[in-house]
Symmetry: C2
């Protein structure tokens, strides 16, 4: 952080107990202003969000290969903890689709779905992920999330969403699909399509059509019927709950479970017991990388949602404290038997649009889910898995962003390559491989691009003090002077390129006596580039050529002053390219004059 932000943050960092408390417990700030009006408002919001969250929580638990109640557990403690530590007023944390998929992918490497070891691995993932986020927050390592470039994260989410949607076709149609990678699952689905279970498929497809209709057409319809904007919005979000109530009643009423429709079955009633996940070092070692990836992907989604919502009301979100809050929320999820959670887009938007004013709304939502866990789970017995599958498919398909692929292709082929590689690797080798390949390729392509910066040979625009690319403008050049403008910072990926460029340019033209490097776009000169500049200077000197710099920025000049380079430089550092050329010409003229006199 620098500039204004550094000063603003400086005050937060005041190392008084009071300052630290306010920094790490944002609840102390908003809690003080909490009024009975806010309380009533937050309670209403909580009721709305609870209705939306129950089906989502169950569905994502099944997506993660876990018992349904684990989804409810993961939607209680994290919400309360986030209310204490979070800086966003409206973020709603809980299980989300992509991290549920990542949880399943990681836990499957430990044990088979349904085993206690599988559940233990999922809970351990939440704990490790929580601790990693906490450490990142306390050490201010949030920048690690930057390594996930937009195209990589966008490609990853699109690939994951399509993979999730495909995998959910199995419960939706009542068929089996095997395999870990998307390709395996896809082939297996296509092969088993003939075994579709008619009742299950009827329920699943009806739910799917209903949910798509709710999402796309219910709100305009309600508005047309004279329902208010906000009420229409909220009613439309209750679609999944309505689908669950209806299909559960149908399965119960017609006894479809006896006809082979798979149902959720007995969900244990009551709140989770507090416990630690297995502290097996071998398990932790294996879960470390998946937990790191889950943390970073979750954080990127969460902070982006938080900033977007905060901006609408000009509120502040502290990215480092958000890491702490998400870390604590995940630790809370783990000790209360849940799996990894993060700030989700859909649930946060509902929370925001329903009018949440403080994180207390989240805590009340947790209370709502606790009540449901205590009293409503018997009602979920006949809930068909196909309905939950339909809920997931509708939710994740909204994450698929084909437009982003097109836009990226049009804007930058390198970014598109990273995006496409992420998608293909995710499908072929799984979520971890997808992220690693994408991040690796993005870094590689970035270094590759900066390894061959744009270097223009420049000349003077006649009658002005301006210098422009000789290839684009009609300019005046001096055969003895080679003026080069490099449009990139000078650092290790391109240091040798610049050496070779100048070597080549000078070897190709024996008239050259001066080389001037114009540096207005050079923001950094690292140790590699400094050494290259020294080498260029020495080699040019060996060839009887003087080396100059021009338009070097202040901070770079400050650093160069401490080095041997400026002493060794055969030419000078000029304030502007015009000064450089003028002073060289003046010197040449003076020498010619002296030579004539002698």
């Amino acid at each position: 952080m620098s500039g204004q932000s550094k000063r603003t943050r400086g005050s937060d960092r005041t190392q008084t107990v009071h300052g630290l408390l306010r920094r790490y417990f944002p609840i102390l700030a908003w809690g003080r202003e909490y009024s009975s009006r806010t309380l009533l408002n937050d309670l209403i919001v909580a009721a709305i969000v609870t209705v939306m969250l129950i089906p989502q929580s169950l569905a994502y638990a099944l997506l993660a290969g876990l018992p349904a109640q684990v989804g409810l557990y993961a939607s209680m403690a994290p919400l309360v903890i986030y209310a204490v530590f979070g800086t966003s007023r409206t973020l709603a944390v809980g299980p989300v689709a992509v991290s549920s998929l990542m949880t399943a992918a990681a836990a499957e490497t430990i044990a088979a779905q349904g085993s206690p070891e599988y559940l233990g691995a999922a809970i351990a993932l939440a704990l490790i992920s929580g601790l990693l986020l906490l450490v990142m927050g306390l050490l201010r390592l949030g920048f690690l999330a930057n390594f996930l470039s937009h195209p990589v994260i966008s490609g990853f989410i699109t690939a994951s969403a399509i993979q999730i949607a495909a995998s959910q076709c199995a419960p939706l149609l009542g068929i089996r699909a095997d395999g870990h990678s998307f390709l395996d699952v896809f082939v297996s689905l296509a092969r088993n399509l003939g075994e579709t279970h008619p009742y299950t498929a009827a329920i699943g497809l009806a739910s799917l059509v209903f949910l798509f209709w709710v999402r796309h057409s219910l709100k305009p319809l309600l508005r047309g019927l004279g329902v208010g904007e906000r009420a229409a919005d909220i009613l439309a979000k209750a679609g999944p709950a309505a689908a669950i109530v209806t299909t559960t009643s149908v399965v119960w009423g017609f006894g479809l479970a006896a006809h082979g429709v798979r149902i959720v079955g007995a969900v244990p009633q009551g709140l989770p017991r507090l416990a630690l996940p297995p502290l097996d070092p071998a398990l932790w070692t294996k879960m470390l990388v998946p937990a790191l990836l889950i943390s970073i992907v979750g954080y990127v989604e969460s902070i982006s949602v938080a900033l977007t919502l905060a901006a609408k009301r000009r509120q502040r979100v502290d990215p480092d404290q958000e890491l702490v809050a998400l870390g604590m929320a995940n630790v809370g999820a783990a000790v209360s038997g849940g799996f990894p959670v993060t700030g989700g887009f859909a649930r946060s938007v509902v929370n925001f649009e329903a009018g949440a004013e403080t994180p207390a709304a989240g805590a009340f939502t947790a209370a709502g889910i606790a009540l449901a866990t205590l009293f409503l789970t018997p009602l979920l017995y006949f809930l068909p898995n196909a309905t939950l599958a339909a809920t997931i498919i509708v939710a994740v398909l909204s994450l698929v962003d084909i437009g982003a692929l097109k836009r990226t292709w049009a804007y930058s082929k390198a970014d598109f390559a990273a995006m496409a590689a992420t998608i293909l690797a995710t499908w072929a080798e799984g979520v971890e491989a997808g992220l690693v390949v994408g991040v690796g390729l993005a870094i590689f392509l970035h270094l590759y691009a900066s390894s061959r910066p744009h270097i223009a040979v420049v000349g003077q625009l006649p009658g002005t003090a301006h210098f422009r690319n000789v290839a684009r403008h009609t300019v005046v050049t001096d055969p003895e002077i080679l003026s080069l403008r490099v449009d990139e910072s000078l650092y290790f990926p391109n240091a040798r390129f610049i050496e070779e460029f100048i070597h080549e340019a000078v070897a190709a033209n024996s008239a050259i006596r001066h080389v001037i490097l114009e540096c207005p776009a050079v923001n950094v000169i690292d140790a590699s580039a400094l050494e290259s500049l020294e080498t260029i200077n020495r080699r040019l000197k060996d060839g009887g050529i003087r080396f100059h710099l021009s338009e070097v920025k202040g901070p770079i000049m400050d650093r160069l002053k401490g080095t041997h380079f400026l002493e060794a430089l055969t030419g000078k550092v000029h304030l502007s390219q015009f000064d450089a050329v003028s002073s060289i010409n003046a010197e040449l003229a003076r020498r010619t004059l002296q030579a004539r006199r002698l």
Copy 2:
């Protein structure tokens, strides 16, 4: 490649048979002008270099854990092949210290020193390394070498040189040293110091003192005695040969081999037979990464020597063709029973200073070594290993660059960290770990640094059109306008930082109605940054703030024109920061006026 270089190279790329032949066979260029005068000169140079190379070749073979003759084999075919394919007139290829150490480190993972499998692995390394270099050259992948930043390569060479010198203390003193890592060897040496073999140590230390004296004091002494500059230089380089002749005679004359002085022993007479190394897929898979690292480290050393020497005579070196030439040289080394080679600094400088004019000098040197292999090997029987150890120690200690550590520390802590990590990892875990850690850390620190660019809040210098940092200058600012200058390209490592910076700055000041981002130092806007700019624009719009850009470079503007961003932008793109502020003020004034009129 761009600008002038692109045009210059364009002609090389002419896809005629003639052009291709000249490109890939530089011998066709210099061979045509070859005269009897050049021939005589090159023959004299070859005689001088041969005398220097024989001890070096033997010593580096022993350093690589190989039989002495392998060093001679590696100094024949590669020199001839480089003469055909190389673009440097004076580069001398052969075994060098660092790649010999790397060869030993890799081959030791396959088999014990002295076994045929160990030799096979070393030869396979040369072949794989050669093929990799060839592919890199043909596909123009030389930029891969850029990933080795100067501090990393410098740290690596210093660490390797110290490690080599330490390991050679064992043969120098006639003691044993075990272990793979430097730390193991060091501990083992210290423990066995009591078992020093007196005769061996006497020969070793005497050679060491003599060679140091030759290197530092012989040349001034000879010059004082009236010997010419060049002759003094050449005589000083013959030091190792003199040490070998003397100590071999002493060992033979006094029968010291019977007293336990270890000698080279029987070296097979005659030229190597052409053969392929073992084509075992498991061996190749294991040798792939070491071969890649040997190739890149070798290439970096070689191209740097070639460019430095070429610059002294304003000759040209083509970095891509150098990859081809080194690749062919290594393939040649492999099929003639040698181990990895590269362009060495010491031998190339001797070649240059002795007056080599064409690569033919190298070919004649190869002939000289061939003659030695045919007729002189019996004379090497009594050559003590201690003398070769002394030769290696003196040679490698000149590679240790403690000054570079100090300079890097003073100039850049990040670069120093990469350097120190390379050294420590090389010593603790070996050469491959050292390079991987160094490169990884350098890339990480680079991304870290660019993840938090300098962003200045700027204001207008009173009475001028210039805008400067508010923290450094007395400037005029408008409370409704936030002007920011970002001193870095906008791309994924910093895209989110800029989002957060603007979010923070705007949330901290509710008076702001316009944000202007001044972009004179922005050389690139990648897809991540574009998305961040769109997000910033959308969030500012939600908060009732307009977003402007100023001083956007032409090529960036060209790319932005194809995107949705410019349409969505709530403000404008202004030519200069002054234009931006003026036009916003003009609009504000017009509105105020309109409001008053109404």
